[in-house]
């Protein structure tokens, strides 16, 4: 994986993005806007499931009306996110917050998968009875909670507190970030 990241870093476009004065901030800003698009619309879909908003609309109507926006937001957010990763691949790959974020996205993805599997099967029934099982409400709230953590950890990637080029770090940090540290280099500095 590290080799892959190192190879990506040597590609022409990665270097161009990394060094560009304007492309990087523009992509970063649009990433933020698409986060609003994605999370903001998801918020209302999930709030509808808990019965907090848009109670005039059935679950199916709400999903049909709003989820396309959420999907578009997700795609654009992912695209800009991939570009941001591609601009600084090695540093991101070894960044602890990036790793936490990816883990959280996987968890959110699994949650969403179960959520939508069940919803596509039973939404019609919930529309008719205007009743939503508690497990679905929990799943909706959990989705908002996990995506909030994704946003927070994503914002933290910008900070280099635990980066590989800032040593010494505790051993467990270097383990989690798979940093390759030449300890002999630091022995001299520490005087140990």
């Amino acid at each position: 994986m590290l080799n892959l990241a190192e190879w990506l870093a040597t590609t022409q476009w990665s270097i161009a993005l990394h060094e560009s004065l304007y492309w990087y901030p523009w992509i970063e800003s649009s990433h933020v806007l698409f986060i609003c698009f994605f999370f903001g619309t998801l918020l209302f879909v999930d709030l509808r499931l808990t019965g907090k908003v848009f109670t005039n609309l059935s679950i199916s109507e709400m999903n049909k009306g709003i989820l396309p926006l959420t999907v578009v937001g997700f795609c654009l957010m992912s695209l800009t996110g991939l570009l941001l990763f591609y601009a600084i691949p090695v540093r991101n790959y070894q960044n602890i917050f990036f790793r936490i974020k990816i883990l959280l996205i996987i968890i959110a993805g699994v949650n969403a998968l179960f959520f939508h599997k069940r919803m596509s099967k039973e939404a019609k029934k919930w529309d008719k009875d205007s009743f939503i099982p508690n497990s679905m409400k929990v799943s909706a709230i959990a989705s908002l909670f996990i995506w909030s953590l994704v946003i927070i950890s994503g914002r933290m990637i910008a900070y280099n507190w635990f980066d590989c080029d800032r040593q010494p770090q505790p051993e467990w940090i270097n383990f989690l970030t798979s940093c390759v540290v030449d300890y002999q280099l630091y022995e001299g500095i520490d005087g140990t």
């Binding site: 933020v32 806007l33 609003c36 698009f37 999370f39 908003v53 848009f54 609309l57 909030s148 946003i151």
Partner: protein, 158 residues
């Protein structure tokens, strides 16, 4: 107010207790900033759903006033979170903000955005419901808040 009085005021903000306290901590600024981003997402979602309905893209079976009413509470909640986190962020680096063009663009658009939303967009939607003017209101509101969010992000680059 003279320009040098404004910069003095910004130095005063930066020297405030909250400003100093945040600058003294490694974690505080990033954590507050993350919640600022969350607030932005909540406000952004309310803006997107409200304005896309005004432009006639989504939820066309429901009236514009119903959709705007449903999003209003969350707009206010997002806004409160943004102000509560935004003010401390500003206090911690007020002087940098003074010299940042992005900051001033954001503040001007934010002022217009707030006035526009509460005094023009929302009251007019409740009155008129549909039509070309309503679509235009949606488009203007959407563009305004996009500039606020993007220029806000840009403060961090300068």
């Amino acid at each position: 107010m003279e320009p040098n009085q404004i910069i003095e005021l910004f130095y005063f903000f930066e020297d405030s207790f909250i400003g100093q306290y945040i600058r003294g901590s490694t974690w505080l600024f990033p954590v507050i900033e993350s919640f600022h981003l969350l607030g932005l997402a909540v406000l952004g979602g309310s803006v997107v759903i409200g304005d896309f309905r005004l432009m006639g893209f989504i939820l066309k079976t429901e009236s514009t006033s119903y959709v705007v009413k449903q999003t209003r509470t969350w707009f206010k909640l997002g806004f409160c979170l943004l102000v509560l986190t935004g003010v401390p962020l500003f206090l911690s680096e007020a002087v940098k903000c003074y010299y940042s063009r992005a900051f001033w663009i954001k503040m001007i658009c934010l002022t217009i955005g707030i006035a526009f939303t509460f005094f023009i967009r929302n009251p007019l939607v409740l009155k008129i419901e549909e039509g070309k003017l309503i679509s235009l209101l949606g488009l203007s509101s959407f563009l305004l808040w996009t500039v606020v969010a993007a220029s806000g992000r840009w403060i961090g680059f300068s």
